[in-house]
Amino acid sequence: CGYFQFPGVYRIYVQQGNIVTDEMVNQLEAGMTKRQVRFVLGTPLIEDTFHAERWDYIWTLKDPHGDTQKQLFTVYFDGDNLARFEGDYKKGQVQEGTDAAPEVKPI
């Protein structure tokens, strides 16, 4: 934003959206009901009011320097059944939390 940036300001990660992994996508087949898709992929964070026929599983992570990674996986429905699905998703183990192991208190 507008004026010079102070050096070394601590900024937090800003994460948004659902994580979709290859494991989940492999379980998807056309024709599944909405309940089954919801069970496999989880509840989508974008169920747009004006696009009832699609669910968007977006995932973004903005790092302290401002560059953002983004992944979008969209599923399309024909009525209550899964028509098709497309988009990118994560491969293998996903680890993003901090490893804040709480300190151990002796008995």
Binding site: C1, F6, V9, V14, T43, L45, Q93, E96, G97, I107
Partner: protein, 862 residues
């Protein structure tokens, strides 16, 4: 025979409304009625419980119902209840429909009497008795008289543990909340039997054994018996310890989600180690938390021990069920009716529409508490209905005054009567901005200042603030050397976080200072004694003075014999230039008007658990202030202050505090300006001593002593009336202590007379302070969050690397010279800001320190 009901009339209604009668009646206008239905109707009306008598008659088609209402309760009197408060009893009565104005039902009263008796027995008050009476009053009303004799609670005579071979009775009974009658029992009443306490004690006993490997520990039976007179209770707990088990293999099962070694690191149990239940449950918690950080807030981890009796080993498997990855749909706030939503939301580390991380949710709660705006912050995660993997996080806060506000007509030690308004609000109009302005006139100071800081100038927490001030101080009034400074200036400062808990800051300002010195300004500020202007420096020795005064007196003895001869003792004079070569005061060396541009750099780290009255964590800050080269004054000031809280036992906490300061001049300024000196003593530094009175003293002003060295009788009336003056010379030097009224005499130097006010605190350029406090909760006070009481030991002093020759109490850094005191202090966050009291007794002090046992102040938290 049956008939058609054309109308229904109800007679005798008093309190009960006709509506509720009709609602209860099973018959409507137009129905057919016969004897059977009449019985149903009266039975229906009876079940309402409102009526003691019902008659149903017929007047052609009109169904006539005459009722007599049960009496209404006009008053309920409760006597003799102490253990159970009247409100609880009244509430119990109300819940069963027995309250003033209600219809009285005898059966509920009976039930209630025995219910009360049962409650007392459950509390161990075995000899209690409950008597209920119903007194009839006119106009169909009743008065309920309930007299209770609570008797005394059975006290525990003996707790006997049978079967404990590995641990002594004393160690085990230490865990118990129930105790046999001890000398403290009359306050703690720990010898009063209550079943819930016993179950609690037994659970603690069981986990004590389970935590030490006694996996097969069982308690076959526990007996509670009472003495025939029902006054003493005997508790017998029979134990079967079983043997100690060691940990065998430790396995992970289920879906650990994270690589195994990361989970393994959190496992606290090692093979061969004695089994401990608490280690097992803590391990499960750590793994659950770790998974929570990964977004699996619904994770469940259970440790299952499998005992192998022969080998005495127990294998433990941790079943990890991560559940679904959870997401936070909404973050909501409750209770912030004055503080803006953004002020809370910007502290959040957990985003909305993002994966849930339990550590982020917890950190956000701590950050809210660290603001100091809230007495309490409670966080709750609620599952979103209709989803299995979404939660809403709700923070409920309770707001508290966060600053001192309002006109302060007050009196504070050391500053006398303070008049004026000052408002320092850290949550200005709920915007989270810190605004303060004060108009303060007091005996010693007129202060007009305004400060404004926006902690969130940018969304990441870059703060920007500025302040302007005008201050005219008459230092002589607050026990500091007699001079006054008039300063005005402004300052712009920025600060920003460099980590979750650390911030750095910098600021640039301008100050203009004018120093006025009174006649009796201390020597360190303005050199004295000085020769009087216009008086030629002529000196007379003490012995010659003695001769001279003899002549003058003699002449004055017989005035009538004509003009007294002029006396001129110039030949007795000695005229060498002889003055005390006192060093220059500050003003003499640097003048009295300064413009300087102070530049400050600061670093702060705080992990305190609460903004005000913290009880956990630590905070430190280091600041360097130096005037930009080219300012009139070139000096630098380094300041460190830190505090650390160490919980000791239950809710007792130790607080360690340290304040260090070092300042010096650089460049062409030859000494730290005296108005930048550190001071010590009083609140927030070393309690038990008057404010700012520790450390070096100033040398009071002095002037050369003038004596008569010649006399003339101008009107020749035989008496001298005009005198010549000169300075007295000292012949044998005496000890040199600058005390008011004293004479300073150095061999063959002019004698100086000390006249300035006694030696006043002058501060120094090195500050060392430290204190240890034991925070303890005041008994009998429920709301501890607004109150902090502590026993303290404060120590500290101010030193000066170059002491003036005559300065008292002035030492270079020397820890044996620290002044110290112990005492008790209390801080209360009132509506007008923190109110602090302290009662202290110094046990180590320097001769010049001024002691002050009781101190109080409004607005500064120590």
């Amino acid at each position: 025979e049956s008939f058609r009901v054309t109308d229904i009339r109800v007679d005798g209604l008093q309190r009960v409304s006709a509506g509720s009668v009709f609602a209860a009646l099973p018959v409507r206008i137009g129905d057919y009625m016969d004897t059977v239905e009449i019985q149903d109707a009266s039975r229906a009306l009876f079940t309402t419980g409102y009526f003691s008598d019902i008659e149903i008659g017929r007047d052609e088609g009109v169904l006539v119902i005459t009722v007599t209402e049960r009496p209404a309760i006009s008053e309920i009197v409760l006597e003799g209840n102490k253990a159970i408060k009247t409100e609880d009893l009244m509430k119990g009565l109300q819940d069963n429909g027995l309250s003033e104005g209600q219809i009285f039902k005898r059966v509920t009263l009976e039930g209630l009497g025995s219910e009360l008796q049962r409650q007392y027995v459950a509390q161990g008050r075995y000899s209690a008795s409950v008597k209920t009476e119903v007194i009839d009053l006119p106009r169909n009303q009743v008065k309920l008289q309930i007299t209770i004799d609570e008797g005394s609670v059975a006290s525990i005579e003996h707790i006997n543990l049978v079967g404990n071979t590995s641990f002594s009775d004393e160690d085990l009974l230490e865990l118990f909340e129930l105790r046999t009658t001890g000398w403290l029992s009359w306050i703690t009443s720990d010898n009063k039997y209550a079943r819930e306490k016993l179950t609690g004690d037994i659970e603690r006993l069981e986990s004590f054994y389970m935590d030490r490997g006694y996996l097969k520990f069982t308690m076959p039976s526990t007996q509670v018996s009472v003495s025939p007179d029902k006054e003493s209770v005997y508790i017998t707990i029979n134990i079967a310890e079983g043997e100690v088990f060691k940990v065998g293999k430790v396995e992970l099962a289920g879906d650990p989600v994270l690589p195994e070694d990361q989970i393994r690191r959190l496992v606290l149990m090692r093979e061969g180690q004695t089994f401990s239940q608490v280690l097992m449950t803590t391990t499960s918690d750590y793994i659950t938390k770790r998974l929570g950080n990964e977004g699996y807030t619904f994770a469940e981890v259970k440790g299952i021990p499998e005992v192998n009796a022969e080998t005495g080993l127990v294998d433990i498997t941790f079943f990890i069920d991560p559940g679904k990855r959870a997401y936070v749909r909404r973050v909501e706030f409750r209770g912030n009716t004055k503080t803006k939503d953004e002020v809370l939301r910007r502290e959040m580390r957990q985003m909305e529409s993002a994966s849930a991380a339990s550590i982020a949710i917890e950190n956000s709660k701590v950050r809210l508490e660290r603001l100091g705006f809230f007495k309490e912050v409670v966080v709750e995660t609620k599952e979103v209905p209709g989803t299995s993997d979404q939660v809403d996080v709700e923070y409920t806060v309770e707001e508290q005054p966060s600053g001192s506000i309002g006109a302060s007509v007050g009196f504070a030690q050391g500053t006398g009567l303070v008049l004026g308004a000052n408002i320092q609000q850290n949550n200005w109009l709920g915007t989270g901005k810190r605004v303060g302005f004060s108009v303060n006139t007091s005996q010693y100071q007129q202060v007009y200042s305004f400060n404004y800081t926006d902690p969130y100038f940018t969304v990441d927490g870059v703060s920007r603030g500025f302040s302007v001030f005008y201050r005219a101080t008459d230092f002589s009034k607050i026990n500091v050397a007699s001079y006054s400074t008039n300063t005005y200036g402004a300052n712009l400062n920025f600060g920003y976080p460099i980590s979750e808990v650390e911030r750095i800051g910098f600021g640039i300002g301008y100050t203009n200072m004018l120093i006025e010195t009174g006649s009796s300004a201390v020597q360190e500020i303005k050199r004295s004694p000085n020769l009087y202007e216009g008086l030629a420096p002529r000196y007379i020795t003490e012995s010659n003075l003695a001769i001279l005064t003899g002549l003058v007196d003699q002449a004055g003895l017989n005035p009538g014999i004509g003009p007294a001869p002029d006396l001129d003792f110039s030949e007795l004079l000695d005229s060498p230039e002889n003055t005390l070569n006192n060093p220059d005061g500050f003003i003499d060396a640097n003048g009295d008007q300064f413009d300087s541009f102070p530049f400050t750099l600061s670093w702060a780290k705080s992990t305190l658990n609460r903004g005000q009255l913290a009880t956990r964590g630590a905070s430190q800050n280091l600041s360097l202030e130096f005037s930009v080269p080219g300012s009139d004054m070139e000096f630098y000031k380094l300041r460190y202050s830190g505090q650390y809280f160490q919980p000791v036992y239950k809710d007792f906490t130790l607080r360690f505090r340290a304040d260090l300061g070092y300042a010096d001049a650089y460049g062409n300024t030859n000494g730290l300006p005296f108005f930048e000196h550190f001071y010590s003593g009083g609140f927030g530094s070393v309690r038990g001593f008057k404010r700012n009175t520790l450390g070096p003293r100033s040398t009071p002003a002095a002037s050369y002593r003038t004596v008569t060295i010649g006399a003339q009788d101008s009107n020749s009336d035989g008496k001298y009336d005009t005198f010549d003056t000169g300075y007295l010379l000292c012949e044998t030097s005496k000890d040199v202590i600058y005390k008011t009224g004293a004479e300073v005499c150095l061999q063959d130097k002019a004698v100086a007379q000390v006249f300035g006010s006694d030696d006043l605190p002058f501060g120094g350029n090195v500050l060392i302070e430290g204190s240890i406090e034991l925070l303890f909760p005041l008994p009998f006070i429920e709301d501890q969050r607004m109150l902090q009481t502590a026993f303290f030991i404060d120590s500290g002093n101010v030193f000066n690397t170059e002491c003036g020759f005559y300065q008292q109490n002035c030492f270079d850094v020397d820890l044996s010279r620290m002044s110290a005191s112990y005492g008790i202090g209390l801080t209360w966050i009132s509506g007008f800001g923190p109110l602090t009291f302290s009662l202290s007794r110094p046990f180590q002090y320097n001769p010049e320190d001024e002691i002050e046992t009781f101190q109080f102040s409004l607005g500064t938290a120590f």
